[in-house]
Symmetry: C2
Subunit: 201 residues, 2 copies
Protein backbone atom coordinates (compact mmCIF):
# COMPACT_ATOMS: atom_id res chain seq x y z
CA UNK A 1 0.00 0.00 0.00
CA UNK A 2 1.46 3.45 -0.92
CA UNK A 3 2.29 5.73 1.98
CA UNK A 4 -0.55 8.16 2.58
CA UNK A 5 -0.01 11.86 3.25
CA UNK A 6 -0.97 12.89 6.79
CA UNK A 7 -3.35 15.72 5.95
CA UNK A 8 -4.24 15.63 2.26
CA UNK A 9 -5.99 18.80 1.05
CA UNK A 10 -9.22 18.55 -0.94
CA UNK A 11 -7.92 17.33 -4.29
CA UNK A 12 -9.13 16.72 -7.84
CA UNK A 13 -12.14 14.59 -8.59
CA UNK A 14 -10.36 11.21 -8.47
CA UNK A 15 -8.72 11.92 -5.18
CA UNK A 16 -12.03 13.01 -3.71
CA UNK A 17 -13.44 9.54 -4.34
CA UNK A 18 -10.50 7.87 -2.62
CA UNK A 19 -10.55 10.19 0.35
CA UNK A 20 -14.27 10.10 0.88
CA UNK A 21 -14.21 6.28 0.73
CA UNK A 22 -11.47 6.34 3.37
CA UNK A 23 -13.51 8.70 5.56
CA UNK A 24 -16.61 6.50 5.19
CA UNK A 25 -14.60 3.42 6.15
CA UNK A 26 -13.33 5.15 9.28
CA UNK A 27 -16.82 6.45 10.09
CA UNK A 28 -18.27 2.91 9.87
CA UNK A 29 -15.67 1.68 12.34
CA UNK A 30 -16.29 4.55 14.75
CA UNK A 31 -20.09 4.46 14.64
CA UNK A 32 -20.09 0.66 14.97
CA UNK A 33 -17.80 0.73 17.98
CA UNK A 34 -18.86 3.90 19.78
CA UNK A 35 -22.40 4.54 18.56
CA UNK A 36 -23.90 7.81 17.49
CA UNK A 37 -23.26 9.74 20.72
CA UNK A 38 -19.75 8.37 21.24
CA UNK A 39 -18.47 9.20 17.75
CA UNK A 40 -16.77 12.52 16.98
CA UNK A 41 -15.81 13.97 13.60
CA UNK A 42 -12.33 14.38 15.06
CA UNK A 43 -12.03 10.63 15.77
CA UNK A 44 -13.30 9.76 12.28
CA UNK A 45 -10.77 12.15 10.74
CA UNK A 46 -8.00 10.56 12.82
CA UNK A 47 -9.11 7.09 11.70
CA UNK A 48 -9.09 8.18 8.05
CA UNK A 49 -5.83 10.09 8.47
CA UNK A 50 -7.30 13.36 7.17
CA UNK A 51 -8.00 16.81 8.57
CA UNK A 52 -11.40 17.15 10.35
CA UNK A 53 -12.15 20.11 8.08
CA UNK A 54 -12.09 17.73 5.12
CA UNK A 55 -14.76 15.54 6.75
CA UNK A 56 -17.00 18.58 7.12
CA UNK A 57 -16.11 19.70 3.60
CA UNK A 58 -17.20 16.38 2.09
CA UNK A 59 -20.10 15.43 4.36
CA UNK A 60 -21.35 18.63 5.97
CA UNK A 61 -22.37 17.26 9.37
CA UNK A 62 -22.20 14.23 11.66
CA UNK A 63 -25.81 13.38 10.72
CA UNK A 64 -24.95 13.36 7.02
CA UNK A 65 -21.82 11.31 7.70
CA UNK A 66 -23.81 8.63 9.57
CA UNK A 67 -26.32 8.60 6.77
CA UNK A 68 -23.64 8.16 4.09
CA UNK A 69 -21.81 5.52 6.14
CA UNK A 70 -24.91 3.37 6.67
CA UNK A 71 -26.74 3.76 3.38
CA UNK A 72 -26.21 0.71 1.15
CA UNK A 73 -25.00 1.55 -2.37
CA UNK A 74 -27.50 1.83 -5.22
CA UNK A 75 -26.05 -1.39 -6.67
CA UNK A 76 -27.29 -3.24 -3.57
CA UNK A 77 -30.80 -1.83 -3.82
CA UNK A 78 -30.85 -2.91 -7.46
CA UNK A 79 -29.81 -6.48 -6.66
CA UNK A 80 -32.43 -6.60 -3.90
CA UNK A 81 -35.12 -5.53 -6.38
CA UNK A 82 -33.87 -8.03 -8.98
CA UNK A 83 -33.83 -10.83 -6.38
CA UNK A 84 -37.42 -10.20 -5.31
CA UNK A 85 -38.33 -10.72 -8.99
CA UNK A 86 -37.08 -14.35 -8.83
CA UNK A 87 -39.88 -16.89 -9.48
CA UNK A 88 -41.52 -17.48 -6.12
CA UNK A 89 -40.62 -21.18 -5.91
CA UNK A 90 -36.90 -20.33 -5.96
CA UNK A 91 -37.07 -17.15 -3.89
CA UNK A 92 -35.88 -18.71 -0.61
CA UNK A 93 -32.55 -19.74 -2.08
CA UNK A 94 -32.23 -16.52 -4.09
CA UNK A 95 -32.67 -14.30 -1.01
CA UNK A 96 -30.20 -16.35 0.98
CA UNK A 97 -27.57 -16.25 -1.78
CA UNK A 98 -28.15 -12.50 -2.15
CA UNK A 99 -27.43 -12.01 1.54
CA UNK A 100 -24.36 -14.26 1.60
CA UNK A 101 -22.99 -12.49 -1.47
CA UNK A 102 -23.66 -9.04 -0.07
CA UNK A 103 -21.76 -9.73 3.16
CA UNK A 104 -18.82 -11.04 1.16
CA UNK A 105 -18.82 -7.93 -1.06
CA UNK A 106 -16.04 -5.44 -0.31
CA UNK A 107 -18.31 -2.46 -0.67
CA UNK A 108 -21.67 -3.72 0.64
CA UNK A 109 -20.45 -5.97 3.49
CA UNK A 110 -18.95 -3.15 5.59
CA UNK A 111 -22.13 -1.07 5.22
CA UNK A 112 -24.37 -3.91 6.40
CA UNK A 113 -22.00 -4.59 9.26
CA UNK A 114 -22.00 -0.90 10.26
CA UNK A 115 -25.80 -0.78 10.16
CA UNK A 116 -26.16 -3.83 12.41
CA UNK A 117 -23.50 -2.80 14.90
CA UNK A 118 -24.47 0.86 15.07
CA UNK A 119 -28.07 -0.19 15.70
CA UNK A 120 -27.00 -1.71 19.00
CA UNK A 121 -26.27 1.66 20.52
CA UNK A 122 -29.30 3.87 20.49
CA UNK A 123 -32.76 4.56 19.22
CA UNK A 124 -31.65 6.98 16.45
CA UNK A 125 -29.40 4.48 14.73
CA UNK A 126 -31.88 1.65 15.33
CA UNK A 127 -34.37 3.61 13.26
CA UNK A 128 -31.85 3.49 10.40
CA UNK A 129 -31.65 -0.30 10.67
CA UNK A 130 -35.44 -0.57 10.65
CA UNK A 131 -35.47 1.44 7.42
CA UNK A 132 -32.80 -0.77 5.79
CA UNK A 133 -34.61 -3.97 6.82
CA UNK A 134 -37.95 -2.58 5.75
CA UNK A 135 -36.53 -1.24 2.49
CA UNK A 136 -34.57 -4.37 1.52
CA UNK A 137 -36.56 -7.19 3.04
CA UNK A 138 -40.04 -6.11 4.00
CA UNK A 139 -41.06 -3.21 1.77
CA UNK A 140 -39.60 -4.72 -1.41
CA UNK A 141 -41.25 -8.07 -0.95
CA UNK A 142 -44.42 -9.16 -2.74
CA UNK A 143 -45.04 -12.55 -1.16
CA UNK A 144 -48.28 -13.52 0.54
CA UNK A 145 -51.94 -13.14 -0.18
CA UNK A 146 -52.57 -9.58 1.04
CA UNK A 147 -50.81 -6.66 2.73
CA UNK A 148 -50.97 -8.11 6.24
CA UNK A 149 -49.80 -11.53 5.11
CA UNK A 150 -47.03 -9.95 3.02
CA UNK A 151 -45.41 -7.97 5.84
CA UNK A 152 -45.75 -10.88 8.25
CA UNK A 153 -44.03 -13.30 5.86
CA UNK A 154 -41.36 -10.72 5.05
CA UNK A 155 -40.73 -10.09 8.75
CA UNK A 156 -40.26 -13.83 9.34
CA UNK A 157 -37.87 -14.05 6.37
CA UNK A 158 -35.95 -11.12 7.87
CA UNK A 159 -35.76 -12.80 11.29
CA UNK A 160 -33.99 -15.82 9.76
CA UNK A 161 -31.74 -13.81 7.44
CA UNK A 162 -30.72 -11.28 10.08
CA UNK A 163 -30.10 -14.01 12.68
CA UNK A 164 -27.85 -15.83 10.26
CA UNK A 165 -26.01 -12.58 9.49
CA UNK A 166 -25.41 -11.89 13.19
CA UNK A 167 -24.26 -15.46 13.95
CA UNK A 168 -22.06 -15.84 10.88
CA UNK A 169 -20.63 -12.39 10.19
CA UNK A 170 -20.94 -10.27 13.33
CA UNK A 171 -20.71 -12.57 16.37
CA UNK A 172 -18.93 -15.35 14.44
CA UNK A 173 -20.45 -18.22 16.44
CA UNK A 174 -19.28 -21.67 15.33
CA UNK A 175 -20.10 -23.80 13.43
CA UNK A 176 -22.31 -21.28 11.59
CA UNK A 177 -19.38 -18.94 10.93
CA UNK A 178 -17.45 -21.63 9.03
CA UNK A 179 -20.14 -23.59 7.20
CA UNK A 180 -19.94 -23.23 3.40
CA UNK A 181 -22.50 -21.17 1.51
CA UNK A 182 -23.82 -24.38 -0.09
CA UNK A 183 -24.30 -26.08 3.27
CA UNK A 184 -26.19 -23.03 4.53
CA UNK A 185 -28.36 -22.92 1.43
CA UNK A 186 -29.23 -26.62 1.74
CA UNK A 187 -30.11 -26.17 5.41
CA UNK A 188 -31.80 -22.76 5.47
CA UNK A 189 -33.35 -22.08 2.03
CA UNK A 190 -36.25 -24.54 2.57
CA UNK A 191 -37.10 -22.75 5.83
CA UNK A 192 -37.12 -19.38 4.04
CA UNK A 193 -39.24 -20.95 1.31
CA UNK A 194 -41.82 -21.98 3.91
CA UNK A 195 -42.04 -18.36 5.10
CA UNK A 196 -42.53 -17.34 1.46
CA UNK A 197 -45.26 -19.70 0.34
CA UNK A 198 -45.90 -22.25 3.09
CA UNK A 199 -48.80 -22.58 5.52
CA UNK A 200 -47.96 -20.44 8.56
CA UNK A 201 -50.90 -21.64 10.68
CA UNK B 1 -41.43 4.80 43.55
CA UNK B 2 -39.94 5.75 46.93
CA UNK B 3 -37.27 8.41 46.94
CA UNK B 4 -33.81 6.83 47.05
CA UNK B 5 -30.95 8.15 49.16
CA UNK B 6 -28.15 9.66 47.11
CA UNK B 7 -25.26 7.65 48.47
CA UNK B 8 -26.50 4.73 50.52
CA UNK B 9 -23.78 3.12 52.61
CA UNK B 10 -23.23 -0.66 52.49
CA UNK B 11 -26.19 -1.89 54.49
CA UNK B 12 -27.53 -5.10 56.05
CA UNK B 13 -28.02 -8.24 54.00
CA UNK B 14 -31.43 -7.33 52.54
CA UNK B 15 -30.26 -3.94 51.44
CA UNK B 16 -27.22 -5.46 49.80
CA UNK B 17 -29.48 -7.46 47.48
CA UNK B 18 -31.43 -4.35 46.52
CA UNK B 19 -28.34 -2.24 45.96
CA UNK B 20 -26.44 -4.83 43.98
CA UNK B 21 -29.48 -5.41 41.75
CA UNK B 22 -29.62 -1.66 41.16
CA UNK B 23 -25.90 -1.59 40.32
CA UNK B 24 -26.31 -4.53 37.92
CA UNK B 25 -29.24 -2.81 36.21
CA UNK B 26 -27.18 0.33 35.71
CA UNK B 27 -24.18 -1.71 34.53
CA UNK B 28 -26.33 -3.47 31.89
CA UNK B 29 -27.48 -0.12 30.55
CA UNK B 30 -23.95 1.30 30.44
CA UNK B 31 -22.27 -1.75 28.89
CA UNK B 32 -25.08 -2.08 26.33
CA UNK B 33 -24.84 1.55 25.31
CA UNK B 34 -21.13 2.28 25.62
CA UNK B 35 -19.46 -1.12 25.34
CA UNK B 36 -16.68 -2.50 27.45
CA UNK B 37 -14.13 0.23 26.73
CA UNK B 38 -16.62 3.11 27.01
CA UNK B 39 -18.05 2.09 30.39
CA UNK B 40 -16.61 3.40 33.67
CA UNK B 41 -17.36 2.28 37.22
CA UNK B 42 -18.07 5.95 37.94
CA UNK B 43 -20.80 6.09 35.27
CA UNK B 44 -22.34 2.84 36.54
CA UNK B 45 -22.34 4.21 40.10
CA UNK B 46 -23.99 7.41 38.88
CA UNK B 47 -26.63 5.37 37.01
CA UNK B 48 -27.33 3.32 40.14
CA UNK B 49 -27.22 6.39 42.38
CA UNK B 50 -24.56 4.89 44.67
CA UNK B 51 -20.96 5.68 45.57
CA UNK B 52 -18.35 4.18 43.17
CA UNK B 53 -16.65 2.61 46.21
CA UNK B 54 -19.77 0.52 46.75
CA UNK B 55 -19.54 -0.86 43.21
CA UNK B 56 -15.95 -1.96 43.91
CA UNK B 57 -17.00 -3.26 47.31
CA UNK B 58 -19.69 -5.51 45.82
CA UNK B 59 -18.09 -6.50 42.52
CA UNK B 60 -14.34 -6.02 42.89
CA UNK B 61 -13.49 -4.94 39.34
CA UNK B 62 -14.96 -3.82 36.01
CA UNK B 63 -14.31 -7.34 34.62
CA UNK B 64 -16.28 -8.93 37.45
CA UNK B 65 -19.06 -6.38 37.04
CA UNK B 66 -19.40 -7.16 33.30
CA UNK B 67 -19.44 -10.83 34.12
CA UNK B 68 -22.17 -10.44 36.76
CA UNK B 69 -24.22 -8.14 34.51
CA UNK B 70 -24.20 -10.54 31.56
CA UNK B 71 -24.41 -13.93 33.24
CA UNK B 72 -27.95 -15.32 33.07
CA UNK B 73 -29.36 -16.43 36.45
CA UNK B 74 -29.16 -20.08 37.48
CA UNK B 75 -32.95 -20.28 37.08
CA UNK B 76 -32.48 -19.61 33.34
CA UNK B 77 -29.85 -22.30 32.92
CA UNK B 78 -32.18 -24.73 34.67
CA UNK B 79 -35.10 -23.93 32.34
CA UNK B 80 -32.77 -24.30 29.37
CA UNK B 81 -31.72 -27.75 30.56
CA UNK B 82 -35.34 -28.74 31.27
CA UNK B 83 -36.43 -27.52 27.82
CA UNK B 84 -33.78 -29.56 26.01
CA UNK B 85 -35.31 -32.60 27.77
CA UNK B 86 -38.64 -32.05 25.92
CA UNK B 87 -39.56 -34.99 23.63
CA UNK B 88 -37.82 -34.26 20.33
CA UNK B 89 -41.02 -33.96 18.29
CA UNK B 90 -42.18 -31.00 20.40
CA UNK B 91 -38.75 -29.40 20.90
CA UNK B 92 -39.13 -26.67 18.25
CA UNK B 93 -42.14 -25.15 19.99
CA UNK B 94 -40.62 -25.67 23.45
CA UNK B 95 -37.41 -23.80 22.58
CA UNK B 96 -39.33 -20.95 21.00
CA UNK B 97 -41.66 -20.59 24.01
CA UNK B 98 -38.63 -20.72 26.34
CA UNK B 99 -37.04 -17.84 24.48
CA UNK B 100 -40.22 -15.74 24.31
CA UNK B 101 -40.79 -16.31 28.03
CA UNK B 102 -37.21 -15.48 28.94
CA UNK B 103 -37.28 -12.13 27.15
CA UNK B 104 -40.54 -11.25 28.90
CA UNK B 105 -39.07 -12.18 32.31
CA UNK B 106 -38.14 -9.18 34.51
CA UNK B 107 -34.91 -10.77 35.63
CA UNK B 108 -33.75 -12.74 32.57
CA UNK B 109 -34.87 -10.36 29.79
CA UNK B 110 -32.53 -7.51 30.76
CA UNK B 111 -29.55 -9.91 30.97
CA UNK B 112 -30.20 -11.32 27.48
CA UNK B 113 -30.65 -7.83 26.14
CA UNK B 114 -27.38 -6.69 27.74
CA UNK B 115 -25.52 -9.68 26.30
CA UNK B 116 -26.77 -9.00 22.76
CA UNK B 117 -26.19 -5.26 22.84
CA UNK B 118 -22.82 -5.39 24.56
CA UNK B 119 -21.67 -7.95 22.00
CA UNK B 120 -21.97 -5.31 19.31
CA UNK B 121 -19.05 -3.34 20.67
CA UNK B 122 -15.94 -5.40 20.79
CA UNK B 123 -14.29 -8.77 20.63
CA UNK B 124 -14.11 -9.26 24.43
CA UNK B 125 -17.84 -8.92 24.98
CA UNK B 126 -18.60 -10.87 21.79
CA UNK B 127 -16.78 -13.80 23.37
CA UNK B 128 -19.26 -13.62 26.25
CA UNK B 129 -22.17 -13.82 23.81
CA UNK B 130 -20.60 -16.82 22.10
CA UNK B 131 -20.39 -18.54 25.47
CA UNK B 132 -24.03 -17.79 26.32
CA UNK B 133 -25.22 -19.02 22.90
CA UNK B 134 -23.02 -22.07 23.08
CA UNK B 135 -24.03 -22.76 26.69
CA UNK B 136 -27.79 -22.30 26.19
CA UNK B 137 -28.40 -23.32 22.62
CA UNK B 138 -25.51 -25.27 21.20
CA UNK B 139 -23.72 -27.02 24.06
CA UNK B 140 -26.89 -28.05 25.87
CA UNK B 141 -28.51 -29.54 22.81
CA UNK B 142 -28.60 -33.24 21.99
CA UNK B 143 -30.26 -33.22 18.59
CA UNK B 144 -28.75 -34.83 15.50
CA UNK B 145 -27.02 -38.07 14.70
CA UNK B 146 -23.45 -37.30 15.81
CA UNK B 147 -21.32 -34.47 17.21
CA UNK B 148 -20.90 -32.63 13.91
CA UNK B 149 -24.58 -32.91 13.05
CA UNK B 150 -25.55 -31.83 16.57
CA UNK B 151 -23.60 -28.54 16.59
CA UNK B 152 -24.69 -27.74 13.04
CA UNK B 153 -28.38 -28.23 13.87
CA UNK B 154 -27.99 -26.29 17.11
CA UNK B 155 -26.25 -23.45 15.28
CA UNK B 156 -29.11 -23.24 12.79
CA UNK B 157 -31.66 -23.25 15.63
CA UNK B 158 -29.68 -20.42 17.23
CA UNK B 159 -29.63 -18.41 13.99
CA UNK B 160 -33.44 -18.41 13.89
CA UNK B 161 -33.93 -17.81 17.61
CA UNK B 162 -31.35 -15.01 17.83
CA UNK B 163 -32.67 -13.34 14.68
CA UNK B 164 -36.17 -13.35 16.11
CA UNK B 165 -34.83 -11.94 19.40
CA UNK B 166 -33.04 -9.09 17.59
CA UNK B 167 -36.02 -8.24 15.37
CA UNK B 168 -38.66 -8.48 18.11
CA UNK B 169 -36.95 -7.30 21.28
CA UNK B 170 -33.85 -5.31 20.36
CA UNK B 171 -34.46 -3.59 17.02
CA UNK B 172 -38.27 -3.80 17.34
CA UNK B 173 -38.95 -4.14 13.61
CA UNK B 174 -42.65 -4.41 12.72
CA UNK B 175 -44.69 -6.53 12.33
CA UNK B 176 -42.45 -9.01 14.20
CA UNK B 177 -42.32 -6.81 17.30
CA UNK B 178 -46.11 -6.86 17.73
CA UNK B 179 -47.11 -10.37 16.62
CA UNK B 180 -48.54 -12.49 19.44
CA UNK B 181 -46.53 -15.35 20.91
CA UNK B 182 -49.04 -17.82 19.46
CA UNK B 183 -48.72 -16.36 15.96
CA UNK B 184 -44.94 -16.62 16.21
CA UNK B 185 -45.12 -20.20 17.44
CA UNK B 186 -47.45 -21.22 14.59
CA UNK B 187 -45.14 -19.56 12.04
CA UNK B 188 -41.68 -20.36 13.40
CA UNK B 189 -41.84 -23.57 15.48
CA UNK B 190 -42.14 -25.83 12.38
CA UNK B 191 -38.98 -24.22 10.95
CA UNK B 192 -37.13 -24.88 14.20
CA UNK B 193 -38.49 -28.41 14.18
CA UNK B 194 -36.96 -28.96 10.73
CA UNK B 195 -33.56 -27.88 12.08
CA UNK B 196 -34.06 -30.35 14.94
CA UNK B 197 -35.07 -33.49 13.07
CA UNK B 198 -35.58 -32.65 9.40
CA UNK B 199 -33.45 -33.46 6.37
CA UNK B 200 -30.92 -30.64 6.00
CA UNK B 201 -29.57 -31.76 2.61
Amino acid sequence: MPRRPTKPPPGPRDEKGVLSARILGAAREEFAQHGWAGTTIRAVARGADVDPALVYHYFGSKEALLDAATTPPQRWLESVAATWATPVERLGEALLRLMLGAWADDEIGPVLRAVLLTAAHDETTREKLRRVVEGSLIGASHVGTDGTDRVKRSGLISSQIMGLAMMRFVWKVEPVASMTDDELVAAIAPNLQRYIDGDLG
